[in-house]
Symmetry: D2
Subunit: 348 residues, 4 copies
């Protein structure tokens, strides 16, 4: 058996860090070599530094690992970054310059011209951008999109592929875990909703167009689809729900659309990447689904769950989607990205 | 001082009934003469028949009033109906036939050709339909729209008036009080959202077009605007929030739209009807408003609160609105309707 | 390999029924032969009859099983009963008379003189009562306690064993899943607590004394401990939390008490019953635990989690406990009871 | 008409500060002269410095008042302190030294030997301690108890007066507003409870004994009653609920206890202090009350609401109580204290 690849986690004590730890525990290809976090945590054993809020147990193998400073100098070629965007930018660059492959969940470098905003099902060919980074870095940076954007993009992917997308109008109902910890004060959300999440609508509207863009002459030409997003926060723990209305370029009946959702498979499924969902899109038939509490764990949180596909008086179709914001929307997305990179030889 | 007009309440023990009681307590024009409800409650004093869940005290004047059967035979010319739609249809007809003015919150007769679906700010001229009801009834029926529809229609009203509306796309986040009592089981909504409310989307899409319709030859020609609604239930007690995107016929800048919201006044304000809000639309400037818990009581729950007016990449503008679903969306709407009817001599 | 024992589930479509199905799926000793429920469900495939609200998938093996009437006539010697207490009494008797072993979670027969109120860790010797039932039944009935009572009794067990219990004062904060479905209306519990659960305090105060009673001359002499319970409902999905203060007969320091909790093992652990928790009591050291959302799944929901053991100015010690109300507090309790019965030859 | 007394608010922008502002708006005796807060807010107009989360509007009179540093130098003899306990100690002393009457809600000086821990209904005679402060201060400090303690003490007061209290065992279910803002993260409390609040149990157990203590030789002899508290946090916005079991010195039937609750009146009611509740204790007869969402506003949040008075197998009686933690439990308590001081000439 091949030896596992050593990986590190930057931002190991935040909201996304523990998800990285949880999902990398017993990973068939990767093993955790180091955990790094801000100086507040640095030097402490992980079990003390981190406020572990997941219902699974803190894995024994990292419990007493000392948290390190987020500076290059580790014996691990790949680092996952769950760093807060206030500090992620320069730390990730430092690691990339030092030769590491930085697989980032942070927003800082997502829109960099030469950085892939990768969803392995949708735009694996964007990985060729990595070569252009060689001018800047010895290593490279690959990012995954914002949590709401991934959930949406997966749902749009089969429609774009078969019918082409002209425009999409989306309203999100986002879980509090998306805001980190301590995140949303309970006084603001118990019995309430907040109809505003800073920068979230902009991210959805621009990231999606980059994800579906074409690579031409080493650059990404953004997809011309029009997107309009309204984002809200609700008293849900995990799982972003989104109502979507979509206008297609080619004509498509509801049944064709449903079939497109149901039959959607892509490269990660073909390569059988360890973290890939068997079905990237799971279509629910019940009238009142998807619901975050009941459906967020489907396909271990790695799929977009779609329901209520129906006609729209303005657009061509409308439907409701759900994705796990800290798994497929964050740590799981980054790990799937790393798996694609490994499968395609980028870590050799 | 003129003597108050005697009124009755049908469905007094349900979800909307207590709101009627609360809002009619000390009303300057009306006084409660009788309370009626299904046979389960009939014969009991109101304080025993009704599970009073409002934070204000059950008014003394009705505490010991015996609940009656919902059958004509009362000394009160006007009846408010908060009856469940499973029984409202025939009971309301019976009262209308017997000569009563039935001011109904129930959905059963809303789409009847000769029944006004009244929002006093928007379509007071629809009241002329009442005359055509004389063929069927000695009295008449006037209805108010569904709670989500009223909140939306009030927000659309100044835009329709100044710029004309071509289409509107709306997603609702609706409070549990909108589902009656016992209504939504806590197991379904604690830490969850339900992306489906039976018939709600259809109501929004059709009622709105009737409300904004023109009366021609004794009939209402529905407004041609296109509407698309997606409705969800969230763990909020009172207050429906809606994200709205709207396409206008005439060009309008964001400032013009905001001014239209801010300056909107209509007939109920002019007539100073007792329950009319001073401002039917309240515009909030803060980035994260309106929020149901903080803003639902504005204008005693009789206004639509609008916030986050901004450009939309697909439509002309998008914004967030909030309305109190059991006040302006139900009992308060019916009482305002009754006030307009009285002011215009329909009860004389 | 021995063939599995066929079992049936009465009340399969209620709140506890699906938990039975979930926990019996792939059980090493038992296999589901039939599902029965009230006439509303009877004749339908289980997937239609049951509103499956658990986040795991409905097991394929029962999906299309037709739900039957709850009347004897099945080829399965053991039936689990999750019937509503409004109907459980006579149906369970009918099955016991017809020769079935009825393993019941319902409250109806718990206080019958000849019916064991069984917690395998605490009172396995109560099973000898089964013999006295032969006068009434060809089969027999064995019950498990109320959910709050089990959680409490498990925590009291090592203290009773080592030090003797004189009195215990308990306040519960109970999850909404304990009230069945639809159960607690969301309007009553969102942002609220309800300080009352019908009959719950009486159950805790009397059942506990039967559980810890001694069998003498074929009857149970109730334990003389004094118990006082106050019960409340909170907006938690699964997991009853209880604050407990306890007065002991023998002197005991906090460390001795903690050791007693930590080291507690009993017959089910010795027999390694499939559903038995490795540790019936799990002691948490953190100052702010146990918490239902984080700790309810410990030991697959089969343990009582204890925390905050500290001195009490009135009693000898006080602490906080947590138990999974629909697993160890209901379906899991009954299954563990059945496992003990099987291990001791009662099904031969 | 007498001129109003000028008052200031220290800690005006925190959790309790806005409640002070709300309750002092249009107060018949006091008017706000200045608002002070930490340097983060200092210099800003109040409407910008403060995150106003109350559903009533921010009063116009303070909207544009510039927030000041919390240092003596104001033209107002009385200051209310809602300062965070991390800074309250020395700031309050500075004001007392400078000659101000400091009416504090903070915990820092509550247990000072010469500082009254005042509940006007219970221990107005403790105000004589103020004289002993003259050694230290030109002005003086008067404190009100912790929110859970006030709610409990009011309920115990008539029982202590008529029967004497030997011991009381209490479990609290406390609202998130008690933890300030941002306070409890939503990730910790949505669908959850936290069975721990730092220092809260100690406060209840010691403050209550000071409140009911006797003044002898210029000092307070603590009441010998035994108290045991367990405190939990629940997903409620406003209103602490407590289950209480109490042992009395004299024998008392349930009816006598209920009458004691019902008839309880004290000095603030006699003096008709503006903020005093007409009934300091409101007894509810319904089996499932008090509930925070329905009952917390009773007597404008200034009463303890008592319900479910019943026999206790261990103590003499048990019952459930509810109090508004930011009104009677904080700002309202301090204002009532100030009213008593004014009525008794302490501000002359």
């Amino acid at each position: 058996m091949e030896r596992k690849l050593k990986v590190g986690i930057l931002g190991a004590t935040g909201m996304v860090g523990p998800r990285f730890v949880q999902l990398l525990d017993n990973h068939p290809w990767f093993e955790i070599e180091f955990l790094a976090a801000s100086e507040k945590s640095s030097g402490k054993p992980y079990c003390e530094a981190c406020s572990w809020k997941l219902p699974t147990l803190l894995p024994e193998c990292v419990k007493h690992l000392l948290v390190r400073d987020p500076e290059p100098g580790f014996d691990a070629p790949v680092v996952f970054s769950g760093l807060d965007s206030r500090v992620a930018g320069s730390i990730e660059e430092a690691f990339a310059k030092a030769g590491y492959a930085v697989i980032s969940n942070s927003s800082n470098h997502r829109m960099d011209e030469d950085v892939p905003l990768l969803i392995p099902e949708i735009n694996p060919e964007h990985l060729q951008l990595v070569d252009s980074q060689r001018k800047r870095y010895k290593g490279f940076i690959v990012t995954n999109p914002n949590c709401s954007t991934i959930t949406l993009s997966l749902a749009l992917a089969p429609l774009e592929k078969q019918f082409g997308i002209e425009s999409a109008c989306v309203t999100t109902l986002q879980a509090v875990s998306g805001a980190g910890y301590p995140g949303v004060p309970s006084l603001d959300i118990v019995g309430n909703i907040i109809p505003f999440i800073a920068n979230e609508e902009e991210k959805i509207e621009t990231e999606t167009r980059k994800i579906f863009g074409r690579v031409a002459k080493g650059k990404i030409q953004f997809h011309p689809m029009k997107l309009s997003a309204q984002t809200t926060r609700v008293a849900v723990l995990d799982g972003h729900t989104e109502t979507v209305a979509v206008k297609l370029r080619a004509q498509a009946g509801l049944n064709e659309i449903k079939e497109a959702f149901k039959n959607y498979r892509a490269l990660p499924q073909e390569l059988q990447l360890p973290t890939a969902p068997a079905r990237p899109i799971v279509l629910k038939d019940e009238a009142d689904r998807p619901q975050p509490r009941l459906d967020v764990e489907i396909e271990r949180g790695m799929a977009t769950v779609v329901g209520r596909v129906r006609e729209c008086p303005i657009f061509d179709a409308k439907f409701v989607i759900l994705g796990h914001n800290t798994i497929r929307g964050a740590a799981g997305a980054a790990i799937l990205n790393a798996e694609l990179l490994k499968a395609q030889g980028y870590f050799d």
